[in-house]
């Protein structure tokens, strides 16, 4: 196989499956996630979207299949592996710790420490201020000491995304990131995904809302009962066609 690492997809999945007991939650899924794209991952409840996201983010081991990252064989067995590949997940139930301030959340599990493990607090607070100002149009938060529990859903989502971006992720996995957000906050998150794509961060966007998906995605993968049933570029499809695909299967 000739693989040109420049044009190779960020991540290629071949024949990925997941079996729980006797039920196959995923079977034989082939997906490519390319550079500079927002991929919509669509499908009805139980289609296997969340299972796939969990496998990609390393919290769930796959039962079968292979991964390739940038044209080279890769493996994702743990959160550590996915982080090493530059994959960050944004969850619908936001993975932030409410009682902790923003800056501690920003660096949680990736703290800047002295050799003895003592925190370099001032540096982390300063960096958090910078991060918040870079993403300020979406967050509207600029106090690194603000407790995360005091933020709105959209602000929390912004903090989670800003954290992922800061740690140089190449790919965001967003699992229903807007389900708890207001209309305006949703618009901001969608816009942010497009901005990030233009800066070179790809996204996999799981949603039930086809209008949102159509607004930001470059390509769509439709799943049904654990299988991939369609993989189309935006220019080759329409909301109606996608709806038919999701409902038909």
């Amino acid at each position: 196989m000739i693989s040109n690492t420049h044009d190779a997809p960020l991540l290629r999945l071949a024949g990925v499956g997941k079996i729980y007991g006797r039920t196959a939650a995923l079977s034989d899924v082939d997906i490519e996630i390319r550079k500079n794209e927002v991929l919509g991952l669509l499908g009805d409840n139980g289609a296997g979207k969340s299972t796939l996201i969990k496998i990609l983010s390393g919290v769930l081991p796959r039962s079968s299949g292979t991964f390739e990252a940038g044209g080279h064989p890769a493996d994702i067995r743990s959160r550590h592996d996915s982080a090493a590949l530059g994959i960050e997940t944004i969850y619908q139930d936001i993975a932030l710790v409410g009682p902790m301030p923003i800056w501690r959340n920003m660096f949680l599990a990736r703290e800047l420490c002295s050799r003895l493990g003592f925190l370099r607090c001032a540096e982390m607070r300063r960096t958090t201020i910078e991060i918040l100002h870079r993403g300020v149009e979406i967050s509207g938060v600029d106090d690194p000491d603000a407790e995360v529990a005091s933020l709105s859903g959209g602000q929390m989502q912004a903090v989670a995304i800003a954290r992922a971006v800061h740690f140089r992720s190449k790919m965001l996995l967003l699992d229903e990131p807007t389900s708890a957000l207001s209309v305006r906050e949703t618009e901001n998150v969608l816009k942010y995904m497009v901005d990030l794509r233009d800066e070179g961060v790809s996204s996999v966007f799981v949603t039930h809302n086809l209008y949102h998906a159509f607004q930001v995605c470059d390509r769509f993968v439709v799943m049904s009962h654990g299988r991939k049933v369609a993989d189309v570029a935006k220019k080759d499809t329409s909301i109606e066609a996608l709806t038919r695909l999701i409902v038909a299967h």
């Binding site: 969850y91 710790v97 599990a109 703290e111 493990g117 600029d142």
Partner: protein, 340 residues
């Protein structure tokens, strides 16, 4: 929604407050702020009353000061361990029994002629081991730590009576050891200095160390901490071990002070320690609290006891008053948090 007041209009950008202002703001954000203020007020009232009626209210007498500074550490050490564990989202009801059984281990090994340093090491190790067993049982089998440690408390209480009968076991270490742990300089007591040192250690751990950051995270939102990559089980095990070790520390110091161990010692300490933590602003749900709060909570509990003793209240008043202080503190903290 926003608490800063700095960038409400979006004009002002980076604003790091000057030190005194920043420090006071940080202090007021600390859930322990209320309790520290209350503690200071109580101290002030006691001191003034002690000066006005020096014969009737002997708060300021050298004897009372010594008693106070000797007694706070017993509950203080335990509360530090229990507090660290509560911040990580778990409970330990077995610390009172751990206190007693580590004390027994210390006294019996020393009585058998083993050097005191090794006896101390054994007592601390036993405390850590009990904590780790509690943690393992609770985490491995997904049983609430409240239940697991209720069980280990009863098992340990049984073991204590089995080992010692009802006899009091003497502990008479070398004078240097006695001086080191319970000596006095003027009215200042060595064990109180140790408590301050351990409190500073707990502050450094909780607020300034990576482990502390993880302790708050697993207590504040276990699922999120796990998703972000915090080692949840290891972090919680650490906290369980800390609770056991601190119970042993308290046992060692108390045994040295009274020169003996009685098997009924340590009963009720677990609930007093939890009370001290709750009074000090730690959330029962985990993820919130500070070393300062734990210290202040323990200090306040013992001050209340001390005042009741000084005014000659019957012994059974003590528990009732601690109960009242506890409930009042929880209500006050709830109100303050809502207003914040």
């Amino acid at each position: 929604m926003k608490k800063t007041g700095v960038a409400m209009d979006g004009r002002e950008s980076v604003n790091i407050p000057a030190w005194p202002f920043g420090a006071s703001k940080a202090f007021l954000r600390d859930p322990a702020a209320n309790i520290v203020i209350i503690l200071l007020i109580v101290q002030l009232v006691c001191i003034v009353a002690g000066m006005l009626w020096p014969d009737d209210f002997r708060y300021l007498s050298a004897l009372n000061m010594k008693t106070l500074l000797r007694s706070i550490p017993q509950i203080g050490f335990i509360a530090i361990g229990v507090g660290i564990l509560m911040i990580a989202g778990e409970f330990d009801l077995s610390v009172g029994a751990t206190f007693t059984i580590s004390s027994l281990t210390l006294a019996m090994l020393h009585g058998a002629g083993i050097p005191v340093a090794l006896c101390v090491l054994a007592a601390l190790s036993l405390g850590a081991a009990i904590g780790l067993v509690n943690g393992f049982l609770s985490l491995r089998f997904a049983i609430p730590s409240f239940i697991v440690t209720l069980g280990t408390m009863m098992i340990l209480r049984g073991a204590i009576l089995f080992v010692s009968g009802t006899a009091t076991i003497p502990f008479r270490p070398a004078p240097w050891f006695d001086m080191l742990l319970t000596g006095e300089i003027g009215f200042m007591q060595a064990q109180f200095i140790w408590l301050v040192a351990f409190t500073l250690g707990a502050w450094a751990l909780l607020s300034r160390h990576r482990i502390g950051n993880h302790l708050y995270a697993v207590g504040g939102n276990r699922a999120a901490a796990n998703a972000i990559g915090v080692e949840v089980l290891r972090t919680k095990l650490f906290a369980f071990a800390a609770a056991g070790v601190m119970a042993a520390v308290s046992g060692i110091v108390s045994t040295t002070r009274v020169s003996s161990v009685s098997p009924i010692q340590g009963q009720g300490l677990e609930l007093q320690a939890i009370a001290a933590c709750v009074i000090g602003g730690l959330a029962l749900t985990g993820g919130r609290g500070s070393a300062l709060g734990i210290f202040a909570g323990a200090f306040l509990i013992y001050t209340v006891q001390n005042v009741l003793l000084l005014v000659g209240a019957p012994g059974y008043y003590l528990e009732a008053f601690i109960g009242m202080v506890l409930v009042a503190a929880v209500i006050a903290n709830g109100i303050m948090n809502k207003r914040a």
